[in-house]
């Protein structure tokens, strides 16, 4: 036996998370199915092993937060902060994701098939995010490193105060945030978008995407700017 089921209607969430943290590897379990998640918070947080977790329903806040090595699929919607601070591995949300999806992720890949709410990829630190639908306002806010591929549209203030992260958008951008600007796509951009689309399971043409990156005018204090950016 290399897989196991946890029914959260009858099993406390802590039992599941303790199992994922401590016992899964020792018992050689490679796949865990979570039944009746019913919007519970913190499902599969801190998973630090190459275990595949399938959440059969809607997850609450911080699902798969701090993920390392594992692969978590949410067969439903995700609440606030899905895959926040992910280090490596992959999180796939089949439905939509609420605010702050992939916030501060250092590595790994977050795929959201539906839309995400506001602040997707806020303070991204090296992770990759692919959104099949559209993202809400302030997505990529202060993102420091990593890549975001948005197959739908972006809301207001996309990439506000960006550092070195790069955002690729296929649809429309309602508005760019301070210091974010559209740039020419290069061959390496097409290649990066192509690889991320393949990893996420989408077949869009990378040539449909635009590149948004930092103009870097906020990198140094400019007294003459008179606080207007």
């Amino acid at each position: 036996m290399d897989s196991m089921n946890f029914d959260l209607a009858t099993t406390p969430l802590r039992d599941l998370n303790r199992f994922l943290h401590q016992d899964a590897i020792a018992q050689g379990i490679k796949q865990v199915t979570v039944l009746h998640p019913d919007g519970a918070h913190n499902i599969a947080v801190g998973l630090n092993a190459p275990v595949t977790v399938d959440i059969e329903g809607h997850a609450g806040y911080y699902a798969a937060g701090m993920l390392k090595h594992g692969e978590v699929t949410i067969h439903g919607n995700a609440g606030t902060g899905v895959a926040e601070n992910m280090m490596s591995g992959k999180v796939h949300v089949k439905g939509f994701a609420s605010v702050s999806a992939g916030a501060s992720a250092h590595g790994g890949l977050l795929v959201v098939d539906g839309d995400t709410s506001l602040r997707c990829g806020i303070s991204l630190k090296g992770g990759d995010i692919v959104v099949g639908g559209s993202v809400g306002s302030f997505s990529g806010f202060m993102a420091q490193a990593g890549r975001m591929v948005i197959c739908g549209n972006a809301g207001d203030a996309l990439g506000d105060s960006l550092y070195e992260a790069v955002i690729y958008v296929r649809g429309t951008i309602k508005s760019l945030g301070a210091d974010a600007r559209l740039e020419e796509m290069t061959e390496s951009d097409y290649q990066a978008v192509g690889e991320l689309l393949v990893a996420a399971g989408y077949s869009y043409d990378p040539h449909e995407f635009k590149r948004v990156a930092s103009a870097k005018s906020l990198y140094h204090w400019n007294a003459d700017a008179n606080q207007e950016y």
């Binding site: 919007g39 506001l118 809400g136």
Partner: protein
């Protein structure tokens, strides 16, 4: 933090089950709001007169005596059905006269709501305790607005629990915190509007009800609310025949909607909707910031 829940049943047969469906939704929001809870229920409006939800604070009160005294003083029949510290008073007297009479004769009583369709209950305690105290499970009606409170902006007292009401058949619950309630309050007070608490939500409630009394439709009042109200909010608003949901422009506070052919259910989080009938086939979505969602009962 706080939890909000709302339910509007589209199928008339479900009206008998409104309270039963709503109680688990409220209890599901206990972690978001463990200190107080409240519920406003809208049912078929009275043909004549108005009803008042009254709260005495103490465990028992002579509600029968209150109705008799009202008849003796004002020569107008009144019914007053009480359970412990809560009662529903029904009379054909004008609301202003009833409020005045209650204020003069029973200054300690709190008028929780007034209208033709609304009944309101709120108190301190966990959602489960409050639901049990007032038998929320048995309540019937077309739509309801509920709240579980974790106080941030004012003290934990029954009158500062939500829903807040103003005027007739109007109530509002709030998850969030307003940053300009005192400015609004000063503005409304010059219009002769009286406040009962120092709670920020009361300012939003009285602002919207004032706009509607001035002739605005609910939707227009809400639009003006977007311009006037500053801060974080998810509001759920109930009127005699409508349920409305709005979120601030930054979507700082959550909300999830589940809609089927039979009902529209709203909660701060999905975990309060997970046990509703047929929720697997419901259309589930998060309302967009600064957009109005209005359903008619």
């Amino acid at each position: 933090m706080c939890g909000i829940v709302g339910l509007l049943v589209k199928t008339p047969a479900l009206r008998a089950r409104l309270g039963e469906m709503l109680v688990p939704m409220m209890i599901g929001m206990t972690e978001r709001g463990p200190d107080s809870a409240g519920l406003a229920v809208f049912s078929a409006p009275l043909a004549n007169g108005h009803k008042y939800s009254l709260y005495s604070g103490t465990a028992s009160f002579d509600w029968e005596g209150l109705a008799q005294q009202l008849f003796t003083h004002l020569r107008m029949p009144a019914q007053c059905e009480g359970h412990g510290n809560h009662a529903v008073l029904i009379t054909e007297l004008a609301p202003a006269a009833v409020r005045q009479w209650l204020k003069e004769n029973f200054p300690a009583l709190h008028v929780l709501s007034c209208g033709r369709a609304i009944d309101l209950y709120k108190d301190i305690g966990t959602p489960s305790e409050v639901a049990q105290r007032y038998n929320f499970g048995s309540l019937q009606g077309s739509h309801a607005v509920g709240h579980t409170r974790m106080a941030t902006e004012s003290a934990v007292t029954p009158d500062r629990a939500h829903p807040f009401t103003a005027g007739e058949d109007f109530c509002l619950v709030h998850n969030g915190s307003l940053s300009n309630p005192y400015g609004l309050r000063r503005k409304l007070e010059t219009e002769g509007i009286h406040f009962e608490t120092d709670n920020d939500t009361e300012a939003a409630c009285r602002f919207l009800e004032w706009r509607m009394r001035e002739g605005d439709e609910l939707e227009t009042a809400i639009q003006k609310g977007f311009e006037e109200l500053d801060g974080f909010y998810t509001f759920l608003i109930g009127t005699e025949n409508k349920l409305a949901l709005v979120r601030d422009p930054f979507a700082c506070k959550p909300a999830v909607v589940a809609e089927t052919d039979d009902y529209v259910a709203i909660a701060s989080e999905f975990r309060s909707l997970a046990h509703l009938p047929d929720v697997k086939n419901a259309h589930i979505y998060e309302p967009n910031p600064e957009e109005m969602y209005v359903w008619t009962a």
